[in-house]
């Protein structure tokens, strides 16, 4: 019955990868530190973009791992380790959060509301520094716990090949999903929406969720395509297995557009000043171009880039589109955050470069570290054979 006769030869990543990762990390770190010295407020705003971007990839990857177990998908099983490795970034989230915390007064003006601002004072039971930190801690511990449990079971399966471990993870995934929905929504409200504490939108949690899944999918797709084309996984994986990656990227691109459009249309149409001001801030000076650019970058390009069926399986196209989508997620977060700092026009300079470089380096280093310690393919997973044999 057992058909786990999969041949897997562990291949080390070339040393060059680590060097590049280290170089990016150091360059980013230098710029970030310099940025914090020169302009702490602006750096703190960049910090929140970088932090929410990293959180997207880390927590989104954990979601992808969970959803594979829960839905019983097999096409993704040979690649699941990639998302597992990326989800280990959860451990490092405090590294980017602590500098943010030191600058909490610079970004979140709900920390010191004007005495005349009755609305903000009314929100104080939720928006206060202690509760804010408490929430972050709870979110992080939940994510950390599930990261630990999922990967522990998955890695143990490499040795024991025990099917019960899959079953355990399926159950864990069922428990994780509602917790994920709640934590990611309130994370979005806390970290992004409350930068403009007067503004509110019930769909905002879903908005960040859609971008989070896209970022995690795109990051995984880049790594999967790069490594699979060089034979780091197992033999016999067909390009059909790429199809679902392309299709999901396409689907979530549409989902993001749907959510973003719903939010915009309803606020524009109702035309209530307590809601429209948020969009009007993004319609001043050069922000107009950035807002229109968001539609093109985040929706139009990936939509047409991934629309046709062959493009969802073409490794080159996938590589280009998933890198683009990752960039688009950063763009989106920039568009959400920066209008609060630089009102009236886009602010773009070397300070904005620090965090992307730092994060790119961090992701590469974390991935290299994990791939050295563990197998890149879950060789004990009962679904692995079916995953390799997957055909459309």
């Amino acid at each position: 019955m057992s058909s786990s006769s999969v041949e897997y030869q562990k291949k080390e990543l070339p040393a060059k990868v680590q060097t590049v990762g280290f170089g990016l990390f150091i360059a980013g770190l230098f710029l970030v530190v310099l940025g914090y010295i020169v302009d702490p407020t602006r750096s703190a705003y960049n910090n929140i973009i970088g932090f929410t971007f990293l959180a997207s990839i880390a927590v989104g990857s954990l979601f992808l791992v969970g959803i594979e177990y829960l839905s019983g998908a097999v096409w993704s099983t040979p690649f699941r380790r990639v998302s597992e490795f990326l989800s280990s970034l959860i451990v490092l989230l405090p590294v980017l959060f602590i500098p943010l915390l030191l600058n909490v007064n610079n970004i979140f003006h709900w920390t010191h509301p004007a005495p005349s601002d009755k609305t903000l004072i009314g929100k104080a039971p939720y928006l206060n520094v202690n509760f804010f930190i408490g929430r972050v801690l709870v979110f992080w511990l939940i994510w950390l716990l599930f990261y630990y449990l999922f990967t522990k079971n998955s890695l143990m399966q490499d040795q024991t090949k025990d099917q019960n471990l899959t079953k355990k993870n399926v159950k864990l995934a069922a428990v994780f999903m509602p917790l994920f929905a709640i934590t990611i929504s309130f994370a979005a409200i806390d970290w992004l929406m409350s930068i403009e504490p007067h503004w509110f939108s019930t769909i905002f949690g879903v908005y960040y969720f859609s971008g989070t899944v896209l970022a995690a999918l795109a990051a995984a797709t880049i790594i999967i395509v790069l490594l699979n084309e060089r034979g780091y996984f197992v033999k016999g994986i067909h390009t059909d297995s790429y199809y679902s990656l392309g299709a999901l990227l396409f689907a979530f691109t549409n989902f993001w557009a749907y959510i973003a459009f719903s939010q915009f249309l309803l606020i524009w149409y109702a035309n209530l000043p307590e809601e429209t001001f948020w969009f009007l801030q993004r319609w001043e000076g050069s922000w107009i171009a950035a807002s229109i650019g968001l539609i093109v970058v985040r929706f139009v390009v990936p939509y047409f880039g991934l629309l046709s069926q062959p493009s969802k399986m073409n490794p080159k196209r996938l590589l280009v589109m998933s890198s683009w989508i990752l960039f688009a997620h950063y763009y989106d977060l920039y568009w959400l955050v920066m209008p609060n700092f630089s009102k009236g026009g886009v602010a773009l300079g070397w300070i904005e470069l620090g965090f992307p470089l730092l994060i790119a380096g961090l992701i590469i280093l974390v991935f290299v570290y994990n791939s050295r310690k563990n197998n890149l393919v879950p060789i004990g997973d009962p679904k692995l054979k079916r995953g390799i044999d997957f055909r459309l």
Binding site: M1, K167, A181, D381
Partner: protein, 455 residues
């Protein structure tokens, strides 16, 4: 049953029946005369339908003053019923299009029936805007066409978008359903000895000869239609939600409405499909085609969508407080604690609490329990629309004009009658067309799929 073997794909259809037997079983209701049970059921639904006729007759004769609508509550049962039935119509195309794109093979047993229900539900829903306009003979003006009166529709109104969204959805669902039927109609054409039936099946099977080339084109058309239908399914309830959310009525104007309405529609649609299929599989002996596994998966989707709806309720409540807007907070507190609190709590218990029972595998696989839960879900989803529409209107901005809405007998007759209309179509469908797709089920029987490796 206790432990799953993850190395093997689960069978969709239980047992290894010969393909011929499957054909015979699925075609049986069409080849036999209806029995007594059928006529009893039909007489019940026709009686209910006659209530609709009477209710509508009274409405047309005396005007919509026969309804309970009053001054602030200008929208009530008519729009509640419309949204409810459009919601029911969401499961079919979701199962046949979205689950198809997700390559979920278990959909094959239930897809045809769910698609049929979509069509009948959208037809039922379509009645309500027609009667709600008060002068249904003028409804033709809803379609923008150049006319001598220079009457032009209001393109910026979501009510008009509804006309486009629902009619497009209806047409595409109908085409999708019909395309799926073609191979089965050809099978029936080959099987039947009845002359008239043979002529009808021959015409509607469009010369299908089961050739390789036919199948190839068919599969491509099916895929493309699934691709078209997917955004349509999502757009319909999105636009229905716009009917409310573009306005500035507290409790209506909230940005989460579009995805929340879609989730709710799928939720209620699945509940209705599950309810009807539980009966159909029993009566027609389809237990091995529409298996307990399939029903369990439907229950899981209900758990998911029910929880999404619960998420939306909670998020709305939280943001109503967080926004600091007095009118928003009042609207939500009024829902939970005001004169319509009874309706609100029926909604919460039926929609959020009852599907949580599906966390238990045992309950997901126990037919009587899941049947009752799905009925609860349908009640809850009807009340959800009632709560949204009526509570917000009955306590609007001017306290001097507040009023309590009470439905009249005619309202009730029309509501019950709409069920009669829907179920009459369902009953006729079960005797007129194969309620399970023969071609698709045969393709998912164990061993039907050629494997690229020798097993």
């Amino acid at each position: 049953m206790s432990s799953v073997d993850y190395t093997q794909e689960l069978s969709v259809v239980e047992g290894k029946q010969a393909l011929r037997e499957l054909d015979d079983l699925i075609a049986k209701p069409l080849e036999t005369k209806p029995d007594k049970k059928f006529y009893i059921a039909l007489s019940i639904t026709l009686s209910m339908l006659s209530l609709l006729v009477i209710g509508l007759g009274l409405t047309f004769y005396y005007g919509i003053g026969m309804w309970g609508n009053n001054n602030p509550v200008g929208w009530a049962f008519d729009i509640v019923n419309f949204v409810f039935w459009v919601g029911i119509g969401h499961a079919g195309t979701l199962i046949s299009a979205i689950l198809f794109l997700f390559r979920q093979k278990w959909r094959t047993g239930i897809a045809r029936f769910a698609e049929g229900m979509t069509i009948f539900a959208v037809m039922t829903a379509g009645l309500f805007p027609l009667i709600h306009v008060g002068r249904p003979w003028l409804a033709g003006y809803l379609f923008p066409y150049p006319n001598q009166h220079s009457l032009w529709v209001n393109f910026t109104s979501p009510l008009l978008w509804d006309v486009f969204a629902v009619s497009t959805y209806f047409i595409v669902s109908l085409i999708f359903w019909y395309v799926g039927l073609i191979p089965d109609l050809a099978t029936l054409r080959e099987k039947t000895n009845h002359k008239l039936k043979k002529i009808i099946y021959s015409i509607f099977s469009l010369g299908w000869r089961f050739s390789n080339r036919h199948w190839q084109n068919y599969e491509m058309v099916y895929l493309i239609l699934a691709g078209f239908a997917t955004p349509l399914v999502l757009s319909v309830h999105t636009i229905v939600s716009f009917d409310f959310a573009v306005s500035i009525i507290p409790g209506w104007h909230t940005t989460i409405f579009p995805p929340y309405f879609v989730a709710g529609a799928v939720f209620s649609g699945f509940a209705m499909v599950q309810n009807v299929l539980v009966i159909v599989r029993k009566i027609f002996n389809y237990e091995h085609i529409i298996t307990i596994d399939t029903l369990e998966k439907m229950n899981k989707i209900m758990l998911l969508t029910g929880s999404l709806v619960g998420y939306a309720y909670a998020m709305e409540f939280f943001i109503a407080w967080y926004s600091g807007v007095e009118a928003e907070l009042f609207a939500f507190l009024n829902r939970a604690l005001g004169p319509y609190a009874w309706a609100y709590w029926i909604m919460i218990i039926c929609n959020v609490v009852s599907p949580q029972l599906f966390w238990s595998k045992k309950i997901r696989r126990t037919i009587p329990v899941m049947f009752v839960i799905a009925i609860f879900v349908n009640i809850g989803m009807w009340f959800e629309r009632f709560v949204i529409i009526v509570t917000s209107l009955s306590r609007d901005f001017l306290p001097s004009s507040w009023a309590y809405y009470t439905p009249t007998l005619v309202d009730g007759m029309i509501l019950i009658g709409s069920f009669g209309f829907f179920f009459t179509w369902i009953l006729l469908f079960t005797k007129a067309l194969p309620v399970v797709s023969m071609a698709e089920v045969k393709a998912v029987v164990d061993g039907a799929q050629p494997s690229h490796k020798d097993n």
